[in-house]
Amino acid sequence: MSKTITIEPVSRIEGHAKITVQLDNNGDVTDARFHVNEFRGFEKFSEGRLLWEMPGITARICGICPASHLVTSAKAGDEVLAVDIPETADKLRRLLTLAQWMQSHALSFFHLSSPDFLLGFDSDPSKRNVFGLMAHDKELVRRGIRLRKFGQEIIEIVGGRKIHTPGMVPGGVRDPLDPAKREYLLECIPEARGTVKLALEILKKIHEEYKNDIPQFGNFRSLLVGLVSKNGGLEYYDGSLRIKDGNDNTIADQIDPRKFFDLFGEATEPWTWLKFPYYKPFDYPNGMYRVGPLARVNICDYIETPLAEAERRVFKEMSGNVGVVNNSFYYHYARLIELMFTVEKAEMLLSDPAILGKNIRAQASVNKEEGIGCSEAPRGTLFHHYWVNPDGSIKKANLLIATAQNNLAMNRTVRQIATHYIDGKKGKITEGILNRIEAGIRCYDPCLSCSTHALGQMAMQLEVLNSCGEVVALVSR
């Protein structure tokens, strides 16, 4: 009799989801799927609101990456107003974007993923969290918490609030940077840099320790998509799109982000709310691609800051002759490389006298009917596309969120891990196996939506169902 295993909700990710694993009569895996059971209606209820309100509204999409939505929305607004924003505003928006990466990447590594690595995939699930980690390595937790706090402080200082920050607007930013606060942030840089160095050292030991698990964690070739700077460097705020394949061939380069929707389509499946973006020339589902740290560090030619660039070179060496690191487990490594970049680049920006300028906003009324904003959110390339009435009210909005772009790859990762670890002949499906499947999803650090509150205890549950849908076994944690 065939069976379905359900993991619901998937824990230590941002948002709510479940995983089902379909078994055949022999108990072997025939399919595995990552389902997102949230519905996000922001596009619809943005209609009729004013363009100038959109950064504030869309920052409410998420409690983890509000600054990315804020900046991307403001950029779409710039285009509708047809303005070039002042230099200081550009630098402040860049700093805010880096701070967003910093706090989100620190959260992903120190809070969400390192408990698996440092306590073990098979360790007691009730202690496999950041507090359980305290008993293992107090100093690491202390530093991880402080690093995330530093990212949040930059967001608060530049954007006005830590969560759902409001400080960016079409045409620029709301407030200039206070010189005293600039000095305070610069004083925090050395400790932040030291913390990322420590995390990199730990992760390299983890690579060695988990060398038998890693090859199963989303190890396949796919397209890789992200922004690069004019000279091919790692980009986070502006730039053009580059697409590479899993053999390091450049499929397309220097693409205006406004052309994205010509090149990429979105497929739907009846079993999930999350769409499946794909590269149109390769069709669905062969047009699978990955975005985010793994893609960005793979596709760029260099990183402009020294310590991050040195790590990028080590990262690339891991790919051997292929030239691309194709294993999704190494999202963690790429994320830490980017974390180092955020600290170094934030120091560069804060040291630039132009960041203290007072000219921070270009004023204009509606000059175009359409605008597309694009930036690199922590989890990948983010697009806001607005159609606007002459009075500035939103006629239509389309938001393409980074996590969705990894949907095909996340599903393939789940399938790969489940197929490897679940053995019908052995019968028993341990909690450690379930955790490995979840950890496969956590490589991508998906952010499904943090804008909704969860009431009550979030449980982790495994259900084994027979073909009639009856529960024949239940495991909870």
Partner: protein
């Protein structure tokens, strides 16, 4: 370290859920010297902040309290169970204790009975009344033996 911090938290777009935020803002205005921190939810990095205060008061809406509920918190001995979506004052206190070996001399949790979590920017009139009572009585709630000063 003779400082008092009030942490009021909740969703300000879900009526009564904002009771803690609303109370913290009123307390800050009423009692000079009391510092106030408001947030949509508790986050682990607040453990760093706790260690700097003599008294920390958490104020939140509660679906289980039938009246204003005041609880003194002490660091617990056992390793707490952690859920990133459900950080509690007790977890933060334990984290502060574990990580820094320092906790506030007094940690108090005030729960405000709340029932209306529909979309809206202000708590319901009934809860606002309880909040105002909480603010009036704040010194006696956190220092029952005091003469009403913070």
């Amino acid at each position: 370290m003779n400082r008092t911090l009030v942490i009021g938290y909740g969703n300000t777009l879900r009526r009564d859920d904002a009771a803690g935020v609303y109370a913290a803002e009123l307390i800050e205005k009423r009692y000079p010297g009391v510092e106030c921190l408001t947030a949509p939810q508790l986050t682990p990095e607040m453990a760093v902040t706790l260690a700097h205060y003599r008294t920390v008061v958490f104020i939140d809406a509660s679906t289980t309290a039938n009246e204003l509920r005041v609880t003194k918190l002490r660091p617990s001995a056992a390793c707490p169970e952690y859920d990133s979506h459900k950080m509690t004052p007790q977890l933060l206190l334990d984290a502060s204790n574990d990580l820094y070996g320092v906790v506030p001399r007094e940690t108090i949790q005030i729960e405000i009975p709340a029932r209306d979590f529909t979309v809206g920017e202000l708590p319901s009139p009934a809860v606002r009344e309880i909040v105002e009572h909480c603010v009036d009585e704040f010194p006696r709630l956190i220092y029952p033996a005091s003469a009403g000063t913070v």
